[in-house]
Symmetry: C2
Subunit: 290 residues, 2 copies
């Protein structure tokens, strides 16, 4: 397939490389990042999009996505699909999809989970919103870049699923970390805490797959000094997107709101920036009741 790929940063570059490896013709554009091997450079986003059957975007936020879409959509050929893999606000995802549809294009929002490691290994999960037809067109590309693809519904459903998942994740990680710190102060051994919780009703992915306590449970960023992994500032970004969406649809999300506040404090006022989001555990170790 002929693919235009716009945004070749930490995530986009290995994703594009996996498309090249799968035999696709990839033309790329980025304002700053170098081209991965095998990707043909274009002089602009519009030029990268011009001949493509599918245009993939991997961009930092909704404002940049809207700006790029405004350049790209007029350049795309009729019937091509614009597939945004960025994590952005639901409103931007829906607005861009509506513009693409009005221009006679297919459109998907397809945010990923799995991080830079998953992008390099080709093991990302894609959560996809858009029509069946557009989904069917792009599916082989998702399968070249990831190992799991869920078609969640119409435009915006991919972004909705991602922010709902990550809102739960942020809350659950903080709860797991504060419970470990409480258990420490109560004199409960961390391995015993893991043994009980990981097999009981307090169990979660945060505990069983990504345990925030060093030396306990499976290998995780806690075992390498909380080097990300999934950086605290990216969790903060996703929590803020969840709160933006909750505000837009008048949903009450008190736990998500508190998680956003705690990660904001951690990243902006404490030492959280550049650390894994599970470094909430050493944070709580040092804290006292307010």
């Amino acid at each position: 397939m002929r693919i235009g790929f716009i945004g070749l940063g930490n995530m986009g570059a290995p994703m594009a490389a996996n498309l090249v490896k799968a035999g696709h013709q990839v033309t790329g554009f980025d304002t700053a990042a170098p081209m991965p091997a095998g990707v043909t450079p274009a002089a602009s986003a519009a030029a990268a999009a011009a001949g493509a059957e599918v245009v993939i975007t991997m961009l930092p936020n909704g404002a940049i996505l809207r700006a790029v879409a405004a350049q790209v959509i007029p350049a795309m050929r009729p019937g091509a699909v614009l597939c945004d893999c960025s994590t952005v606000d639901v409103d931007s995802a829906r607005a861009v999809a509506a513009e693409a549809t009005a221009a006679g294009l297919g459109a998907l929002d397809a945010p990923v989970s799995g991080g830079v490691g998953g992008a390099a290994a080709g093991t990302l999960t894609f959560m996809v919103g858009g029509t069946e037809a557009a989904f069917a067109t792009v599916r082989p590309l998702f399968e070249a870049m990831g190992k799991k693809v869920v078609h969640c519904g119409a435009s915006g459903a991919g972004q909705s699923a991602k922010i709902c998942n990550n809102m739960i994740l942020g809350v659950t990680m903080i709860a797991t970390c504060e419970a470990f710190a409480l258990a420490d102060k109560l004199g409960l051994d961390r391995q015993k805490m893991f043994d009980v919780v990981s097999t009981s009703s307090g169990s979660s992915w945060s505990m069983t797959a990504y345990c925030p306590a060093p030396g306990v449970g499976p290998q995780s960023p806690a075992d390498t000094g909380y080097r990300p992994g999934f950086a605290a500032e990216l969790m903060l970004k996703d929590l803020r997107l969840s709160q933006q969406a909750a505000g837009a649809v008048d949903a009450d999300t008190p736990m998500g709101e508190l998680a956003a506040r705690l990660y904001a404090t951690f990243v902006e006022d404490e030492d959280g920036r550049g650390r894994d989001f599970s470094a909430m555990l050493p944070r709580f170790e040092k804290r006292h009741r307010g």
Copy 2:
């Protein structure tokens, strides 16, 4: 084994019945509840404890445990073990264990999870604090009443493990419910939400084993009108115990604190009393952002 069993309510009665079924001689006392079949009634707590090798208590709270222990400890024969299966505050658990130890007795705190259903089926989980010797004595009784036993450490470790687990559980259930309500308002199908989250990083026991959305995931109280299950007021009790413990050891537990506040509102000011703790989902469906 000769067992004294004090507190034969909703939980104690089926637990005592399983001990009888396993061939033990059980003498029981309760201020109100009838004796289960096969349990010999005693005239007082002290009388139930007098000839026993192990005395099991299953009581509503720490104050009642302390009062019962004051009657029972002097009546017990030297070397017998006092095993409290109630969920109480860590301080009461440790105080009673210290009194029993001073009187030449063994002592365990062994709170359970699994509820009335688990008590009847003999599938409870026991989280146990106390000495190896006392644990070894009572272990066959745990195995007659449950299917999983974790020796968590010294006195108080069982209660500590239980409240840490249930603090995470309360937080995670609320987060899962508010995320479902947000997903609804964003137009994301609940089955898709379950498909994504249950296999992603937002996954937890609350989602995969006890999904709060009716008709989605495994059979749970949501499928029978939120009949407990695990009642909201019992979750509130455990969250308050976690906050009492956090206060006593100066631990910062902001998520646990918010969960306790939300369940208090649900049980005391709304329609939560008598409903399953997963009925937070219909609560959030009706709510607006504050």
